[in-house]
Amino acid sequence: MTPFVYARADSLGETIAAGAAPDSAFLAGGTELLNWLRLGIAEPTRIIDISRLDGLDQVEALPGGGLTIGALTHLNDVAQHALVMRDYPVLSQAILNAASPQLRNLATIGGNLLQKTRCAYFRAEEQLPCNKRQLGSGCSALHGINDNHAIFGWTEDCVATQPSDPAVALAALDAVIVTAHRSGGRRIPAAEFHLLPDTRPEADNVLQQGELITAIELPAPAPRSAYLKVRERESYEYAIVSAAAVLEMDGQTIRRAALALGSVALRPWRLSAAEEQLAGAEIGDREALSTAIEQSFAEARPLSQNAYKIELAKTAALRAIERAARMPS
């Protein structure tokens, strides 16, 4: 670890003022940042500990319906909050399928969205060609080990995926990420928060230096929703693919569906074409559901070792829809 200086932040104002200086990094749960420091993925010279900022660790109902989740709320506290469990099961399930119980006691919901890819070349202890580590050095995965890399939205500059589970649920829920910054805050739709590699392969998301996530807002309740995670072991493992489904139903008929896939691209991947065709489908008609899902896979492109992920992703989407339909409304 390269040396750094450390300070604890007491107020939002001083946090966003101090954060604006280049080479500063916020410390929330530390479960990503500490690994970046160890591997040299980030080498900040100033660490601003935001973990004790007041008022950013609450889950509260919004006056007009919906919920606001403070960015510093620990993952276990979000997932086991009564309102999240009742009204947004997809988010609760996505979180409880992430990391481990100990890590979820440290990790925050805001920090979770800022995690970087698990691509082994990117996380290597000795530096290998990787455009996300060093722009212009190339992509080792493109013709290397890419069995768990992207099937959507990749370019020859980077074929990695974004591994967050909660982000997939938030994309399907049409959540909003609320930020504060020295030059004013903004509201960012969750599905637009992460960046594909087509413009700036080295960048992961739209945040600017010193921009602080303060809250995540969820719209109207989505009780008929579910998350499915496919992985190599049952627990404490990242996804090969995951799927979040949010449904509105009239009896057995789907009125509206929102679907997002995880670990298939550098952002949670919404299946818009499938969603359109799912409106009006009967939940018991597997063929209709599969045909609808198929619409969104016209743009899927496998790499040399990961064609299997395309089939896996289609099945995961189908099973997530069926699971969501079985949730009590």
Binding site: V5, L27, G30, L34, R38, D49, S100, Q102, L103, N105
Partner: protein
């Protein structure tokens, strides 16, 4: 905001207050416990959050000590495996690990025991499946998993299914 490269840290470990000067902010809670307080019961397995060998309680919640900067623990309370027993009386989870052969080499055991003690407080012991899921943050290279589940189930006071 006052940034420093050396810090004074006050924290309570296993009921004892400590005041540690000249602390480099890069030191993790795990290294502080092992190297400065000589509490070597807490183990370093991976140092990347991937194994759970370093599990301790921070203000009564189980966490990975390798993922925490020690300096961020100012004013907080830490319990390690050395502080779990009540004098000579073992904690029920420690006794249950002995009774059920919950370990082989023992390297993962302090972390398993700290995790299990917290899990029972959390109430995640409704079934063996629930115990397995909520113990999944602790890997065991010797694969003593069936005995660990038995030990946790028995410590939680629940009859075998």
């Amino acid at each position: 905001m006052n940034f420093h490269d050396r810090h004074l840290l006050r924290l309570r470990v296993n009921g004892e207050d400590h005041s540690l000067s000249d602390l480099d902010p890069r030191v993790t809670l795990l290294d502080l416990l092992r190297e400065r307080l000589h509490l070597t019961g807490t183990k370093k397995g991976c140092n990347f959050g991937e194994c759970g060998a370093c599990t301790v309680h921070l203000d009564e919640r189980r966490v990975n000590a390798c993922m925490i900067l020690a300096v961020s623990c100012e004013g907080r309370e830490v319990t390690t495996i050395e502080g779990l027993a009540n004098g000579d009386a073992l904690h029920p989870v420690q006794q249950a690990f002995i009774d059920h052969d919950g370990f082989q080499c023992g390297f993962c055991t302090p972390g398993q025991v700290m995790s299990a003690a917290a899990l029972i407080e959390e109430g995640h012991t409704g079934s063996d499946a629930e115990i397995r899921e909520w113990m999944s943050g602790n890997l065991c290279r010797c694969s003593a998993y069936p005995q660990i589940v038995e030990a946790v189930r028995s410590a939680a006071g629940r009859a075998s299914q």
